[in-house]
Symmetry: C2
Subunit: 182 residues, 2 copies
């Protein structure tokens, strides 16, 4: 599949190193086919990344296990797979072009972590609403898991294991919920 | 100064886009001078980034204000300047090469956030030792500020304002310290 191949090549070589030809070879597709649909590299990359990002988390179908801990673990599950790491690496491969192309910068800012931040905000607000915890700074806390996990993969180049993710929930998120002062 | 110029060019164009010539022009130095000291681009970049990273925080001279909040704010101060953002952008410019060069990957993993994580670990442990807070998961909490701030600059491409950094301290770190369960 061409868009999947584009993400793989992007993850491996970064935006500057990739070519449309490399993507065609990886996908086993004719070069002419690829160039007909996506005349330039940036068209191809934007399409691949835009299509990918919103599918990562569905804010309308969030887990509802009855506890914030259960909800967060259920939400993290899909992001602990190799598949998800490849996605974050693909996004990391866009860093070199982000400063030079506003469309790429917008995809990174909006399409990368934002759905995860939104999902965390819903889960945290729900836990406050059902009085599992008192009032907290929902917007700031909602950024913690997405930013720390993305930084781990994209900057530290380390995998997000379930142990790591659950460690963040148990050592940071839940204590911060308990320790918030009204 | 040539190494400073290398960081500027790296921050602006990314590793793949930069050339030694661009750095020489930026520094106002003769190309031959630059090439004599650093025969290849990667030599130059490794030297510039290695020299920079350890200077960002001195674990032997950490602030000691008497409270964790005061210590963290004093520690963050140098990292909220334009200077520090340029440094993080330079590190971000290395992402495209990190997967292909182990030396760069090592600098990113060891030289980037690690001194900040170490500094946070010292400040948090000290707060526990003086009984400002009860026992906490020091290693995990020490990662929070460095990872979230780095992700904000390197991935979200947003500035680290003092308001943002203090928001993380007040909404996440200090509540998590208070809410930790032994």
């Amino acid at each position: 599949m061409i868009l999947e191949a584009a993400l793989d090549v992007l993850a491996e070589t970064g935006y500057d190193g990739m070519t449309v030809d490399m993507v065609a070879v990886r996908a086993g597709a004719a070069r002419a086919t690829v160039y007909r649909r996506w005349p330039t590299k940036i068209d191809l990359v934007l399409h691949a990344v835009r299509r990918l990002a919103p599918g990562r988390v569905d804010v309308d179908q969030l887990p509802d296990t009855g506890s914030l801990r259960g909800d967060c673990i259920a939400l993290m599950q899909p992001d602990t797979s190799e598949e998800a790491e490849r996605r974050v690496r693909a996004i990391s491969g866009l860093q070199s072009i982000a400063g030079r192309d506003e469309r790429i910068a917008a995809v990174l800012a909006d399409g990368g972590m934002q759905p995860w931040i939104d999902a965390n905000r819903v889960l945290i607000q729900r836990a406050v609403d059902r009085k599992e915890y008192g009032p907290v700074d929902v917007d700031t806390l909602a950024q913690m898991l997405p930013l720390m996990c993305t930084c781990r993969v994209a900057v530290q180049q380390l995998p997000i294991t379930p142990e790591y993710a659950i460690g963040l929930i148990d050592a940071i998120l839940l204590p911060a919920m308990r320790g918030a002062q009204p």
